[in-house]
Symmetry: none
Subunit: 218 residues, 4 copies
């Protein structure tokens, strides 16, 4: 993460104390995520974050040098977990790529039903104007990795004949991810009625189209 790239984000001086520094920061970040997504980065108040984390406002500054630093650390932390999960998943399924894709989609659909899962990407979208480096970081660390893994899967599918060879890999990845993403935004951001409450069926339908296409087969 480009931690000092933003000119207003001073690098935090490696602190000497940081004793219980393993427990506290995480609590703070959790609280911050909640506040940031509820009210937006600017509108979120350090005091509320502190209260939610069970600290005093001033104590946050023992762990993070500024509000922006909290945001950065927050993204960084969430990204860590995510990225590796994805790679594992994708690598797991080179044997039978299509089955692997269906598993991935099912899992994704399940997790996207919980609204907290979308919190981070939503936050990233909302602050992307003010913190482009964070958006970029998220893209490279999360989305691009996931995309890469998915594309590898699709290539594997093409290799073993489950997927037509002439298909553009990027387009296929997009066709796979896009609908799920759309449903997630629709549900959690725009608060529309969701198809996510029956993930099994959602994925079933999606895969039918994805694999067989809209047109009737000859």
């Amino acid at each position: 993460m480009p931690s000092a790239s933003s000119p207003k984000l001073r690098a935090r001086p490696a602190p000497k104390w940081r004793r219980r520094a393993e427990a506290r920061p995480e609590e703070i970040l959790d609280a911050a995520l909640a506040e940031f997504t509820a009210r937006g980065f600017e509108a979120a108040r350090m005091e509320d974050i502190a209260k939610a984390a069970g600290l005093s406002k001033a104590a946050i500054y023992l762990y993070f040098p500024s509000k922006a630093a909290v945001l950065e650390a927050l993204i960084e932390a969430k990204v860590g977990t995510l990225a590796q999960q994805m790679e594992t998943l994708a690598l797991a399924g080179h044997a039978d790529p299509l089955t692997a894709m269906r598993m991935i989609a099912t899992m994704a659909a399940h997790r996207l039903a919980e609204s907290s899962i979308l919190a981070v990407p939503r936050l990233v979208i909302s602050i992307s104007g003010r913190f482009p480096e964070i958006a970029e970081y998220y893209r490279t660390q999360v989305v691009e990795k996931a995309r890469g893994a998915l594309e590898a899967l699709i290539d594997a599918g093409k290799a073993c004949g489950g997927i037509r060879a002439e298909i553009d890999t990027k387009a296929a990845a997009r066709a796979f991810i896009g609908p799920i993403l759309f449903e997630a935004l629709w549900t959690h951001v725009l608060q529309g009625e969701t198809a996510l409450n029956d993930p099994q069926k959602l994925i079933q339908q999606q895969f039918d189209i994805l694999l067989n296409g809209l047109e009737p087969r000859a």
Copy 2:
């Protein structure tokens, strides 16, 4: 799925002296959109909006009672143009639904290449936490309408045999919209390298998958 390219999105150079008062609100909204998307709603300063619109800070309050009211009016105004465009488009193509869909997608891909097009939906996403009613308004007035129109098109396609009858309409709409939306977010929010600079090809590939599916035909 986006939006009338307001030709005034860039604020015009502030004129030295007063002009027709009827133009003012629109100028203010254009300036506001620019500031809101650049910095976020909270971080945008009324003074900057005013300056960009060529007015004094206080003058904005002659037209809108508060910052939040500017936001609301902004969304409302943009939504107005959008919604009707969409319906027109969709209704236009019941004769040959599949061709119509391809046209719509091509047009969308073209327009999404301009980054200003995504400004409003992005703004909606970023403020959806603080102003859920606005998000809902946007959903019902824009997204739901567009979705409805598209679903009608798909139903027409099913009726005339161009689309398999057993396909779920909602899923098909999702499969159509999702990838385009994903590419737009990818490009403008996450700033990844875009496929949008060759919209023709993008749509070509997308439709190939959408119509024929990933699997080889028997």
Copy 3:
């Protein structure tokens, strides 16, 4: 009235136009009195005064150079009427001073029942901190005149034997005015239950005490 005594009150330049200047100003002053007493001088908005007077905000400035000038003119106007009324009254009754006093008190009690009557003195009290010259002007032009007239009456009463000669004139005036004033403040400012709704009785009781004293006569 010390019209330019306050350094912040510029003397208004004798205007050339002032054509319908006889009707408008009075309407403005009436509206101003209402707003000033309802909200206080500072909190009263020129726009509300204008609206109440049936003009545009800007039009007030054709008649008065500033908000403070409106206040001054207002006091000046109200004082004019009051002062002469009082003198007339007092002079009228040198023949039978005690009867005259009773008449004055009765009339005062009647008029003080209307809450609008107290509006000006109340306003004077409330702005006395910020505009000491106005307070002084009011004292000299109204209260001192009234007091003078009343003291003359009391002196006349002493001369004709209706009032004990050894009584201090100022103290007698105070004893006469004070209770009425108190009742008025009590009623209109502090909103207590009033004795003013039976002015006849009020004055009866007051005069009994005033003339005969609290102690039993020998």
Copy 4:
């Protein structure tokens, strides 16, 4: 009928650094009283109050949520002291009611000579239009209590024969309080020449009239 001379009405020189937080609210209220009475509630600036109290503007908001809240707290605080003083005084003198009344009047006259004493009632009058509840609060907590105590005294006087039985108690109270109140307003609000600089004589004269009446005894 006024009030405990708060010895801190003049703001103390602001100390360089923090002191006991418990003292702060009181300091703020003292400073606020000074500013409110000098300029009026609306015209008084929070910054000036803060400066006078030796704090920053923002610090006031640690203790009071708004300017109006400062006003309310101010009145409440001053009222607290006052009310109990009055009751004590009045109860003290049931043995010899007339002597007690003379003592009360003397004390009142003495205290009214200090201009700070009238500050609170004056403030109450000036804001009564905008904050009627405060005026009412002041009436019930202060004026009505004082009046009640005084009326009890007068009733006691009637019972022991020092005051004529047929006299209306309320009227007598008014006749007692009114002149003192008038002199106070006259002196401190209208800035007339005062009789208060010889309180002894003032009370002497007042009581002569009050007890014996204006008319010569037979």
